[in-house]
């Protein structure tokens, strides 16, 4: 996806300075220096539209949802359900009943591993993951594998961080029941060929769950074209609030699955003899949901959609190319993850300075980067490193900020070069 800097034509409608004005936190100073926020991959900042939507709920239309006859309950219910419709349109799902509100990607994956897994996995069945999964797309599968006797198989990657499709093809077999894979790696930035991954799995009769945490803020999604069986992402990475996220699932699959948690909202009729469950999506939404969160996430989606994911991607790819070029010019620096198909992530190590020390020095320059294993220890082991420094790009970042990062790394060399 990364285009050459010289052909990166930014559409005139994308004005990063105007976008920056929409994000109040970006005008903050840290240590008397302007905040340079390169940690959107961990959690993105929030535009005024989202902040206002959340306070507006509490100030003008708040009550519990789906259970009151009164005016406020109806208003809150309408707002929340209109957010669900925004999510549906955002990922082009065919049916709004396929949009389940969850706490985040982690809960979405746990829900599928638990509800679908308990019903469909038996001893000897195989689950395919990749070596570059986030821990949240590893551990839930290990837990269900332990309970059912299913076995986990892992697709390797190349030294550039490209998924080994031949190895994937070899791993797929009649025992494969589900493939759970990331759409964009949070540690490396690799974009996986998801349509192809899904097509190959379906040919073998296996389902696919896509971890779309890093993809949702950076690329346009189309569930019907992709044909994913399950797709998860978190609100806080798409410029919305934390504590809310989305599980998309094909209606037929969700209908066949048992509920996740029991409680209010997910029921049809309850007696002590027998309880029948609510229809989709409420069957999977036990208890009072994160009402303001869902509404805030809807506002984030409207905000992103107003700018256009194509415009956002073009801007971010320009920064990715610019940053790759600038960082590659630093002698002792090694980029980790150099796949040709890549988005929004600059992960790197310095030869003689530990990432943690780099992070501390950059922090005092006002630069927020993530240092560590990025909840992806297996991929760190793959590269035989403990940690990287990760600068992740959001729609509000600029070329000037990349220059500040490069200057900050100069300060690191200065301090450690003594």
């Amino acid at each position: 996806m990364a285009s050459n800097p010289e052909n990166a034509v930014l559409t005139p409608s994308f004005d990063v300075e105007r976008i920056r004005q929409d994000f109040p936190i970006l005008s903050q100073q840290v240590y008397d220096k302007p905040l340079v926020y390169f940690d959107s991959g961990a959690s993105a900042q929030k535009p005024r539209a989202v902040i206002d939507a959340i306070s507006n709920v509490y100030e003008t239309e708040y009550a519990n949802v789906h259970r009151g006859v009164h005016y406020m309950s109806q208003k809150a219910t309408d707002a929340m359900e209109s957010s669900r419709e925004s999510v549906r349109a955002f990922i082009n799902a065919s049916d709004v009943r396929e949009i389940i509100f969850v706490r985040g990607a982690t809960e979405g994956i746990n829900l599928v591993a638990s509800c679908w897994g308990r019903q469909n996995l038996v001893a000897g069945d195989e689950i395919i993951l990749s070596v570059m999964e986030h821990h949240s797309n590893i551990v839930p599968w290990q837990m269900i594998a332990e309970q059912t006797g299913a076995v986990i198989k892992v697709v390797p990657i190349s030294d550039e961080g490209v998924l080994d499709m031949d190895a994937y093809n070899d791993l797929l077999c009649d025992k494969t029941k589900i493939v759970a894979m990331t759409h964009i790696s949070n540690a490396l930035g690799t974009i996986t060929p998801m349509a192809e991954i899904i097509r190959m799995a379906h040919e073998r009769g296996a389902l696919v769950l896509v971890d779309g945490c890093q993809a949702a803020p950076h690329m346009a999604l189309d569930m019907q074209a992709l044909d994913a069986d399950f797709y998860v992402f978190s609100g806080h990475k798409i410029y919305g609030p934390s504590g809310i996220g989305v599980l998309y699932g094909k209606a037929a699959l969700l209908e066949a699955m048992p509920p996740y948690q029991g409680g209010g909202e997910m029921i049809d009729v309850v007696t002590f003899e027998k309880t029948t469950y609510a229809d989709l999506p409420f069957k999977f939404e036990a208890g009072t949901p994160h009402i303001a969160g869902a509404i805030g996430m809807g506002a984030a989606i409207e905000y992103i959609s107003g700018i256009g994911l194509e415009n956002i991607a073009a801007h971010e790819n320009d920064l990715l190319d610019y940053g790759t070029e600038k960082l590659s010019g630093i002698n002792s620096l090694k980029l980790v993850g150099t796949a040709p198909e890549k988005a929004a992530i600059l992960s790197f190590v310095l030869e003689t300075v530990h990432p943690h020390d780099v992070g501390t020095i950059l922090d005092r320059e006002g630069i927020a980067v993530r240092t560590g294993h990025h909840c992806a220890q297996p991929v760190m082991d793959r590269f035989d490193i403990a940690a990287t420094i990760r600068a992740s790009i959001g729609m509000y970042n600029t070329r000037e900020e990349i220059d500040v990062l490069v200057a900050g790394l100069g300060r690191v060399q200065e301090i450690f070069g003594r």
Binding site: H356, D357, T360, A387
Partner: protein, 150 residues
């Protein structure tokens, strides 16, 4: 530029991190304990030999940042020849130093460890400085549980 960074990364610290003393695994340690910082993936193993109540030898093996390596390196130098009780007491003083707690007088016996006092202005790095020490205490206590920073 006074942003605390040159206090944090004093030359003594850089020297210890580049040429850690008493570094490498030991085959014949009486006590061993590992420390783990799940936040950054850093690991340290401390190897101790005891002669009665006295620490006769101390070594460490680690993968970590400059702060954690320097702290571990200095620690092994400082505790060698100390009694178990004195080594633990030194940790308490060191802890007070790097957390910037008042009330505890740092005292002359901290010696070179004082160069790590800059850590107190970097709260996210305190765990780096204390990891090897916690492992040392765990080794002395003979708890075979790995210590974690959380």
């Amino acid at each position: 530029m006074n942003d605390g960074l040159t206090d944090l990364y004093q030359e003594v610290i850089l020297d210890h991190s580049r040429n850690p003393r008493n570094f490498g695994p030991s085959e014949n340690a009486d006590r061993t304990a590992r420390g783990n910082n799940p936040l950054c993936g850093d690991r340290v193993t401390v190897f101790l030999n005891l002669d009665g109540d006295e620490i006769s030898d101390a070594q460490f093996d680690a993968r970590g940042c400059a702060i954690s390596l320097a702290s571990a390196s200095m620690m092994t130098e400082m505790i060698k020849g100390k009694s178990i009780e004195d080594a633990k007491a030194l940790f308490e003083k060191f802890l007070a130093l790097v957390t910037g707690e008042n009330g505890l007088e740092a005292g002359p016996d901290l010696a070179e460890l004082k160069t790590l006092s800059g850590v107190k202005d970097f709260p996210t790095r305190i765990k780096c400085a204390t990891l090897a020490w916690q492992a040392m205490v765990a080794a002395l206590d003979g708890t075979d549980q790995d210590v974690k920073t959380e």
